[in-house]
C-alpha cells in the first residue's frame, strides 16, 4: 500500500469509508464515478464483499491442478459485485482510492483540533494482514466518514447452544462462502427470517442433509404486509429461488417450529424441536428429536453500532425496536460529515444497502463540495427505491418477530453468557433482585463482560431484563488488539 497524497486540508483522504460490503462498495464506487474526492476504504475482511459477497482470502500463488472450490450458487447477484469491485480496482489504480483490507477498526476519534484543520475524523486501525504476532497499528484521517459496518447474527440462548457444532446461520454461511466447507452432514436450521432459506439451500446444494428449516413464524404473516410485498416482487423471486432449491433437495420447511434444545456431551448430536403455538410459546409435548451433527440458528441481525456509539450519533429504533443510526434521506447522521449506510441504519438486506451506499455518497458529495449545507438535493430514483425497499425491510421485521416463548425453553442450567459462563439461574436471580436492564444484569452476574463484550448475549439479557432490545453499549476499544500493538500507537492519535 502506498501512502496517498494528503488532501489540501491535511487529511489522508476526503472520505474514509468503513466497511466494504454492499453499502460501502456502492458508496465508494459512486464517489469515484460522480465526484473527484479521494477515498480511503477500510475493512476487516481480506477483500471487498462483506458478509454478503464473502470470498476466500486471496491466494498469493495459484496452485495448478488444485480442485476448484464448489461455491457455485452461493452468492446472489455476483454481477453487481464484480462491477463494483472493478470500479474499486480502477479507483485504486488511478490513485484516488486507497484500500486497507484485513484492517480492524478499534476506535474512531473526532480530529478536533488535529491534523485536519477543518475538523475531521481519525480512524484507528490494527493491521491483521500478517501472521499472528505481526499486528501493527496506524491511523487514517478523513474529512468525512461513512459508517457501513453491517450487522451480525442475533442469537438467543437455549439448552445446549454452547455445544460445539451449534453455530449461527451466518457462521454456517461464512464457512461455505469463504472456506467451501459444510459444517455438518446432517444439519438443523432454526430461528426466524428469510436468511434461514439461502443458508439451508446452500448446505443442501453442497450435499448436506438439512433435516428441517424450523421457522418460528408463519408465512401467513406476509399477508398482513401485502402492500410492501407487492411492490417488491423481485425480492420475492429471490426467496422463491431458494424455496425451489429446498424443494429439489427435499428440505422440509417447517413453519411455527423452534429448536428448544441441542443434545450431546462434547459436541451436538441431536436437537429437540417444538411446535410454536398461537401464543408464541412452545407447545408442551410437541417436541420431536432429530439426529444432527451441526445446527444453525439465527433470529435476525444486530447492526454493528460500535463506531456510531463512540461518536455519539443519535440513534433511533427500527420497527422491531432494534437501535439503528438515525439518518436523513442522504444518510447524514446527527453529526456533521458522518454518514451511515446499510444495516447500521436498519437491517434491510443487500439491495437496500446498495441504494443507501449510493445515497450516502451523494450526501458526502453535496456536503464536501461546498453546496449550501442546508439545502437538500433531490434523492432521485435511489431515494424512491430506498423508500420501497425500506418498506419491504419493515415488512420482513414485522413478519419475523422473536416469539415470546423463547424463554420457556431456558432452564436454570442454560448458559446465557458464553464467555463468562453465566447460567440462566443467575440471570433470573439478578432480575428477581431488581435488575431492569442488561447493564444491571451485567453488574450483578458478569453477563456480557467477557471477550465478546455482550455482542452475543446482550440481546437476550436485554429481552430478559427489560423486555426489549437495549441501547448499545459504548465499547472503548471496538476490536481487541495485542497490548504490544496498543503500546506502539502514536500519542498524538491516542484515543485512550
Amino acid at each position: 500500500m502506498t501512502t496517498p497524497d494528503l488532501t489540501p486540508s491535511g487529511a489522508d483522504h476526503d472520505v474514509v469509508v468503513i466497511g466494504a460490503g454492499p453499502a460501502g462498495m456502492a458508496c465508494v464506487a459512486t464517489l469515484l464515478a460522480e465526484t473527484s474526492l479521494t477515498v480511503g476504504l477500510v475493512d476487516a475482511g481480506h477483500g471487498a464483499g462483506g458478509q454478503y459477497w464473502r470470498q476466500p482470502a486471496p491466494v498469493p500463488t495459484p496452485h495448478p491442478g488444485e480442485p476448484a472450490p464448489r461455491r457455485a450458487g452461493l452468492h446472489h447477484d455476483l454481477a453487481t459485485f464484480h462491477r463494483l469491485r472493478d470500479a474499486l480496482d480502477r479507483g485504486a489504480a488511478s490513485g484516488r482510492l486507497a484500500t486497507r483490507f484485513a484492517h480492524h477498526v478499534w476506535s474512531v476519534t473526532a480530529n478536533d483540533p488535529g491534523p485536519v484543520a477543518e475538523g475531521g475524523f481519525a480512524v484507528h486501525v490494527v493491521d491483521r494482514s500478517g501472521r499472528p504476532g505481526d499486528e501493527s497499528t496506524s491511523t487514517i484521517t478523513g474529512r468525512a466518514l461513512v459508517i457501513a459496518t453491517g450487522a451480525f447474527d442475533r442469537a438467543l440462548p437455549f439448552p445446549g447452544w454452547d455445544l460445539p457444532g451449534v453455530m449461527t446461520v451466518g457462521g454456517l454461511q461464512a464457512l461455505l462462502k469463504a472456506g467451501d466447507v459444510a459444517a455438518g452432514r446432517r444439519v438443523a436450521i432454526g430461528g426466524t427470517g428469510p436468511f434461514l432459506l439461502p443458508v439451508a439451500a446452500a448446505l443442501a446444494a453442497r450435499g448436506s442433509t438439512v433435516v428441517g428449516v424450523f421457522e418460528a413464524n408463519h408465512p401467513v404473516r406476509w399477508l398482513r404486509e401485502s402492500r410492501a410485498v407487492a411492490r417488491n416482487v423481485g425480492k420475492l423471486g429471490e426467496g422463491a429461488g431458494y424455496a425451489a432449491t429446498l424443494l429439489r433437495h427435499r428440505v422440509p420447511l417447517r413453519p411455527r417450529r423452534m429448536i428448544v434444545a441441542a443434545h450431546g456431551t462434547d459436541r451436538v448430536e441431536a436437537v429437540s424441536v417444538a411446535r410454536v403455538g398461537r401464543d408464541g410459546r412452545p407447545v408442551e409435548g410437541s417436541a420431536e428429536r432429530h439426529t444432527v451433527d451441526a445446527v444453525g440458528v439465527g433470529w435476525g441481525f444486530t447492526p454493528q453500532l460500535d463506531i456510531a456509539v463512540t461518536l455519539g450519533l443519535r440513534l433511533t429504533r427500527d420497527r422491531g425496536g432494534t437501535p439503528v443510526v438515525e439518518v436523513d434521506r442522504l444518510h447524514r447522521s446527527s453529526r456533521p460529515r458522518v454518514y451511515a449506510a446499510g444495516e447500521t441504519c436498519g437491517v434491510g438486506g443487500a439491495a437496500l444497502a446498495l441504494v443507501e451506499g449510493r445515497l450516502a455518497a451523494r450526501g458526502v458529495a453535496h456536503d464536501l463540495t461546498g453546496a449550501d449545507p442546508a439545502s437538500h438535493p433531490a434523492p432521485g430514483p435511489d431515494g424512491v427505491a430506498a423508500v420501497r425497499l425500506g418498506a419491504f425491510a419493515d415488512a420482513i421485521i414485522s413478519a419475523h418477530p422473536v416469539p415470546v416463548g423463547w424463554v420457556d425453553a431456558l432452564t436454570d442450567e442454560t448458559i446465557v453468557c458464553r464467555c463468562e459462563e453465566v447460567r440462566f439461574g443467575a440471570v433470573r436471580a439478578a432480575i428477581e433482585a431488581g435488575a431492569t436492564d442488561a447493564r444491571q444484569v451485567k453488574q450483578l452476574t458478569r453477563t456480557g463482560m467477557g471477550w465478546c463484550q455482550g455482542r452475543v448475549c446482550g440481546y437476550a439479557a436485554a429481552l430478559l431484563s427489560a423486555g426489549a432490545p437495549g441501547e448499545p453499549d459504548e465499547r472503548l476499544i471496538g476490536a481487541p488488539m495485542p497490548l504490544g500493538a496498543l503500546a506502539q500507537t502514536d500519542d498524538q492519535h491516542d484515543a485512550m
Binding site: 499472528p132 449461527t168 457462521g171 459462563e421
Partner: protein
C-alpha cells in the same frame, strides 16, 4: 491422503487446508469441532459466529494465544494448539 498439499499442525496432527481457508474452516473440514476449553468449566468450544464477533473459537497460533480461528488465514507450516482457559499460564 488429502487433496491439498498445504497443511498446518494442530496439537501434533497434520491438518490439510485449501489455500485461502481460515484455520477454523480447515479444522471443521477435517472433522474437528472444538479446539478450546472454557476458563471456568473446561467445556469444549469451537466456531459459533464464524465472523470474528463471539471469540468462542480462540486457539494458540505459533505461540500467540487468543487467536480467532475463524479469522486467521491458514499458512503452510503453522502450528496451532488447543487453548485451555485464558491461554496463558495463569489459569
Amino acid at each position: 491422503m488429502s487433496e491439498f498439499d498445504t497443511s498446518f499442525d494442530f496439537d501434533g496432527r497434520r491438518v490439510p487446508f485449501r489455500p485461502g481457508q481460515t484455520l477454523g474452516a480447515a479444522l471443521v473440514a477435517a472433522g474437528t469441532t472444538a479446539w478450546r476449553t472454557t476458563r471456568l468449566e473446561g467445556r469444549p468450544r469451537g466456531l459459533f459466529c464464524g465472523i470474528g464477533v463471539c471469540f468462542d473459537c480462540l486457539l494458540t497460533v505459533d505461540g500467540h494465544a487468543n487467536q480467532r480461528a475463524c479469522l486467521v488465514v491458514a499458512r503452510d507450516g503453522m502450528t496451532a494448539l488447543t487453548q485451555e482457559g485464558t491461554g496463558h499460564d495463569d489459569t
